[in-house]
């Protein structure tokens, strides 16, 4: 049930959708393909499913070469963003369709369908039609339909994109639980980084047709490999400044140690808003700053600070901390940076 992709390249006319993709997913993995629109993630997914043919490269499913096989022959489960349910068939018939096609005896189909209806928590709704279900229910039926013929892998193409925020959140958790229950190798595509980080064991970030970074959600968040990843995932403070000497980048009052940067080179420094620590009194390695903006963001407060000469920083303070310190617009505070990346 593993997926192995080697050197996959696909072009549409003059446009290269994916290039030189190598990806290994051992059996049981739950992986998210994350990237902006046009990054090639859907194309890669469809190539793995057999819905598109690559111009170069190979796809192996469960150790066997699958590149030459059509989508029909690969036995992959595929779930579409807009469900693609068969509108004129009942839920039960939708789910059983893959088995019907394989000429499985009806009794067996019925058994499997009812088992899956239980799994997706829609028992008793087998006789309904898709138009009678909510969006979230329809997507669950689509997943059940994909699972019924016991595929090798489960592929989901932006499965929650068409749903309300709340339903999306519920289904995200549901997919994670489903994966834990079935142990099926699952690969899903999303442009929503929260979704990728929350659900997947491993995240693969794509940009302009190439894989830019892969790793656990935490690794990606804490150690972005490129500027793109730092920009794309989570919020960042972005500073562009020159190195005044080898290995030292100065930005106003802030000084960053940057190994490998030569004097005079332009460096980009990224750090997360929660890596900015703000105190009323000087504690250590901080510079003076003035609060010019305060925004309530639920679990944390966002503070916008001015370091003088138009240099701005964004800091996120946990709610408790910001309330205790009582910072407000106009206050003079001390700000320092606890962790950053240099590109």
């Amino acid at each position: 049930m593993s997926i192995e992709v080697k050197g996959i390249t696909k072009r549409f006319g003059a446009f290269t959708a994916v290039e030189g993709i190598n990806l290994d997913m051992p059996s049981g993995d739950l992986v998210a393909l994350l990237g902006p629109s046009g990054s090639g993630k859907s194309t890669l997914l469809r190539i793995i499913a057999g819905l598109e043919t690559p111009d170069e490269g190979e796809v192996h499913l469960t150790g066997r070469e699958a590149t030459g096989l059509s989508a029909r022959e690969r036995n992959v489960g595929f779930v579409f963003q807009h469900y693609a349910l068969f509108k004129h068939m009942t839920v039960a018939r939708n789910i059983g369709f893959g088995l019907e096609v394989r000429k499985v005896p009806q009794a067996q189909i019925d058994r499997k369908v009812s088992e899956l209806l239980g799994l997706i928590q829609l028992q008793g709704l087998g006789g309904r039609y898709p138009s009678q279900l909510s969006g979230g229910q329809r997507q669950r039926v689509a997943v059940a339909r994909a699972l019924a013929p016991e595929p090798q892998v489960l592929l989901l193409d932006e499965p929650f994109g068409a749903l309300d925020a709340k339903v999306r959140a519920e289904l995200r958790a549901w997919v994670r639980r489903l994966h834990d229950a079935t142990g099926m190798t699952t690969l899903f595509v999303t442009h929503d980084q929260d979704e990728a980080m929350e659900v997947a064991h491993r995240v693969v970030i794509m940009d302009h047709g190439r894989i830019v970074q892969e790793g656990s959600p935490r690794a990606i968040f804490d150690k972005p490999a490129t500027q793109f990843v730092a920009d794309f995932v989570g919020e960042s403070n972005r500073i562009e400044a020159e190195a005044t000497e080898d290995g030292l980048v100065v930005w106003g009052p802030l000084r960053f140690a940057a190994a490998g940067v030569k004097k005079g080179q332009l460096a980009r420094i990224y750090f997360r808003p929660h890596n900015v620590y703000v105190t009323g009194q000087l504690e250590s390695l901080q510079v003076p700053a003035k609060i010019v903006g305060e925004r309530f963001k639920g679990a944390f407060t966002e503070l916008e600070m001015d370091l003088g000469a138009g240099r701005r920083l964004m800091a996120h303070l946990p709610r408790g901390l910001s309330e205790a310190s009582g910072f407000k617009v106009g206050d003079s505070v001390w700000a320092g940076v606890t962790g950053y990346h240099v590109f």
């Binding site: 499913a49 057999g50 819905l51 059509s70 989508a71 029909r72 022959e73 690969r74 036995n75 992959v76 489960g77 595929f78 579409f80 807009h82 693609a84 349910l85 068969f86 509108k87 004129h88 068939m89 369709f97 893959g98 096609v101 394989r102 309904r128 039609y129 138009s131 009678q132 689509a142 339909r145 994909a146 013929p149």
Partner: protein, 286 residues
């Protein structure tokens, strides 16, 4: 001292009449006038004249074997033609929408020929093609297939007339089909044929039924393209419109009117039934 008490809000039960937009009455008046003069008045004349026939005359008309034969011919050939158009129309629409081939644009344009062409021209052309000496007729005669001057000929003419209505009903639906659904079926292992039969055809069914209805309605009263190829032999290839004209030429206004009213009534009833069936089928999907 000015009265400062507020006037109570209008009682909630009173409905507000939205004033009609300017021009509404003008448009409605003109439309009703035009329709009244062109449609309602003449139809009223038809039904009132038909009503002057007494019950025994109606009975005589309805049971007249020649009349019954003409209804059989008309509705039988119309149904057969609409059914044939189902297959032919679906084939044409499928090929036009899904495949590329030389002549595709031309074929698409020519589909509308039966609509653009005057029925009399179609009539003389079809009969010329299918008489024993005609280009097609000469191949069919030795096979024992007689087309000209038989119900088969009538049906062929009606197939010609009804084709564009069927194709244009199915074509837009085919074009707008969601590729996702076909991909889903493929991932589930279905062959192209299985996908067509179980996934695509049911989606096309409403358009096919609509096309059938339109074709059927169109060809039931068809006259110009039929009257040449039919041969117009009473009891065998006489269609209702022709019988009406024959009666008119014999100055049997009452008979012609009654027959006209009858055929109108039967057509409407049939169309109503088809429409009901269509609604029932559609509601089966909830």
């Amino acid at each position: 001292m000015t009265d400062l008490t507020q006037s109570p809000p209008s009682p909630s039960g009173r409905t507000q009449r939205v004033p009609a937009a300017p021009g509404f009455h003008l448009c409605l008046g003109y439309t009703l006038f035009y329709l009244g003069l062109i449609v309602l008045l003449p139809l009223a004349a038809l039904f009132s004249k038909a009503a002057t026939l007494g019950a025994p005359q109606w009975w005589a008309l309805v049971t007249d074997p020649r009349v019954l034969a003409s209804f059989r011919v008309t509705f039988g050939c119309a149904a057969a033609a609409a059914a044939a158009d189902l297959g032919l129309g679906l084939l044409a629409a499928w090929v036009l929408v899904r495949y590329s081939f030389p002549g595709r644009r031309l074929m698409d344009a020519l589909i509308d020929l039966p609509i653009a062409m005057p029925t009399a021209v179609a009539g003389i052309t079809l009969v010329t093609l299918f008489v024993p000496g005609g280009w097609i007729g000469r191949w069919l005669e030795p096979l024992g297939i007689h087309v000209a001057f038989t119900p088969l000929g009538i049906t062929l003419a009606l197939i010609f007339i009804g084709l564009p209505l069927m194709v244009r009903s199915v074509q837009p639906v085919l074009q707008e089909l969601d590729p996702d659904v076909e991909e889903a079926a493929a991932c589930l292992g279905a062959s192209r044929w299985t996908t067509f039969r179980h996934v695509l055809l049911p989606q096309l069914a409403p358009a096919l039924i609509t096309g059938f209805t339109l074709s059927f309605a169109r060809v039931i009263g068809e006259y110009g393209s039929v009257v040449f190829i039919a041969g117009n032999m009473p009891y065998k290839t006489e269609v209702v419109p022709l019988l009406i004209i024959t009666k008119l030429e014999e100055y049997d206004y009452a008979g012609a009117t009654a027959l006209g009213a009858l055929s109108l009534g039967v057509s409407f009833a049939l169309l109503l039934i088809i429409n009901l069936l269509k609604r029932r089928y559609a509601s089966g999907e909830a």
